[in-house]
Amino acid sequence: MAEASRLEIVLRDQVSAGFSEDALQEIFLNEQKRVIDALMLAEVLGPLLTEHLAFATSDPVRAHAPVARSSPRPAATDRPLGIADLIEGMLRQERATRGHAA
């Protein structure tokens, strides 16, 4: 509402100063762009905020430092891994890292 009131004042001043079709068009275009930007921001932020709030209220243990993983967690297996399997996992990671670096 405040935004609309300010726009009305600007338009009234424009009219009283001598109506200009081009100036009015420019104002409308500018305002249209601002509205589109605001809508896009809301579209991006809305789901993120919803997810964050749901996360914080449903799981207090994890809500303190929700830090995303940058690498996928290896798939769990049904049987306990032997030490050689664990080493194999390490070597696989190293190969992947070298591959990315190359």
């Binding site: 994890r62 290896p74 297996t77 030490i83 664990l86 996992g89």
Partner: protein
């Protein structure tokens, strides 16, 4: 004696798989020397201040050598009269070097967990080799602990320094090795025994780095590990700054400050007085260091705690409650009084579900090397890296 020898049998782990047949290793990469001799497996915790070496033979669960060595090399100064240094040695290692501090130039090969002085590192590794294999003819296969998230350059530095000294090598992050070493293999599968390799969080506080690692049944990814360049040495530095401010010209050496820390370090509410007797200018003085020691110790908590909560947030949600019951502190930092209770209280105060922080126990100096020796015994033939001189 330059080292403290510890004799303790290790539990039987996996069957050693170090047969002489090399299935996947490229033939061209096979070293030509020592192939007709016996192999010795080495579990090696290459620490900034203290190193631990354990050795054993393939196919055996016995430990042949168990030593903890100060990570320092002393180069005997020119002009030292014959007989002052035992055997007129030109290089001393570990506590021998520290005892002869007046006659040697001391060099610490590592800084913050990574090699800083290559020549000294090579000399130190050569000494380790001589401890593992006094005859000098065996093939040495070493699993070496490295800081969590050590970069490729740090790894390459170790490989280069070890080339020509060890024959095959595997570099594995220290906190993961600590979990392997801490695992009681005899109790695996017993009701009520929680395998630390299945679901735990290890905090390994050494001299140069504090390493935190999630261990959840697979080899930790880079996201599961955090290494902080703040540990025992940084506490020494903070104490030094504070002591210099309060007691100028105190004349305390770095080694003396470390000794004071090792005897009195604590975290939590400031404790006063902690009176420490020191010799300054040949005269005995008593310094009240309660606040100095407490401030430095609490700085460590301030560094570790955010990393701890970050790793908890990254852990698999399936076992998070069990994980919170298995937070284990090892390394020299585990000897700081109150560190377990302070971390546990902070987690509780921040509403983490029934956290339990434990100390690894009296064998804290050996767990990384013990895990490394277990890894050496279990490593497949094609998992070793060859070091070609």
């Amino acid at each position: 004696m330059s080292t403290a020898a510890l004799e303790k049998p290790v539990e039987k782990t996996e069957k050693a798989t170090t047969s002489t047949s090399s299935s996947a290793a490229p033939a061209a990469a096979t070293p030509t020397r020592r192939t007709d001799s016996k192999s010795i497996l080495v579990g090696f915790d290459l620490g900034t201040n203290k190193s631990c070496i354990l050795t054993g033979l393939p196919g055996s669960s016995d430990i042949a050598v168990s030593k903890i060595i100060s990570s320092v090399v002393g180069y005997v100064r020119d002009g030292i009269v014959d007989g002052i240094i035992a055997g007129n040695a030109s290089i001393l290692y570990g506590d021998d070097a520290l005892r002869n501090v007046l006659h040697v130039n001391l060099v610490a090969p590592l800084d913050r967990g990574v090699i800083k002085h290559r020549d000294a590192a090579r000399d130190f590794l050569q000494h380790v080799r001589s401890l593992a294999d006094p005859g000098g003819h065996a093939e040495i296969r070493a699993v070496v602990g490295i800081p969590a998230n050590a970069d490729e350059q740090s790894r390459e530095d170790i490989r280069q320094c070890a080339t020509g000294i060890f024959d095959r090598i595997l570099l594995i992050p220290e906190p993961f090795l600590a979990a392997l070493g801490y695992r009681d293999d005899a109790r695996l599968g017993q009701p009520g025994y929680v395998d630390p390799v299945t679901n735990s969080l290890f905090i390994d506080i050494g001299g140069g780095t504090s390493d935190l690692c999630l261990v959840q049944g697979y080899f930790p990814t880079p996201d599961d590990q955090i290494s902080i360049g703040f540990a025992g040495d940084a506490i020494d530095d903070l104490m030094r700054q504070d002591i210099d401010r309060v007691y100028p010209n105190n004349g305390l050496t770095h080694l003396r400050i470390r000794e004071i820390k090792e005897n009195h370090a604590y975290v939590g509410t400031i404790r006063k007085p902690i009176d420490v007797k020191v010799i300054m200018g040949g005269k005995a003085h008593t310094l009240e260091l309660g606040e100095v020691i407490g401030r430095a110790g609490n700085e460590l908590i301030d560094k570790i705690y955010p990393a701890l909560t970050t790793l908890i947030s990254r852990a698999s949600s399936d076992g998070i409650v069990t994980l919170l019951q298995n937070i284990i502190i090892t390394g020299g930092g585990s000897q700081i009084k109150g560190i377990d209770t302070v971390l546990q209280k902070k987690l509780s105060d921040d509403s983490f579900e029934s956290p339990k922080v434990r100390l690894a126990g009296q064998d804290y100096k050996r767990y990384v090397a013990l895990g490394a020796l277990k890894a050496a015994r279990a490593a497949r033939e094609n998992q070793w890296q060859y070091l070609l001189a």
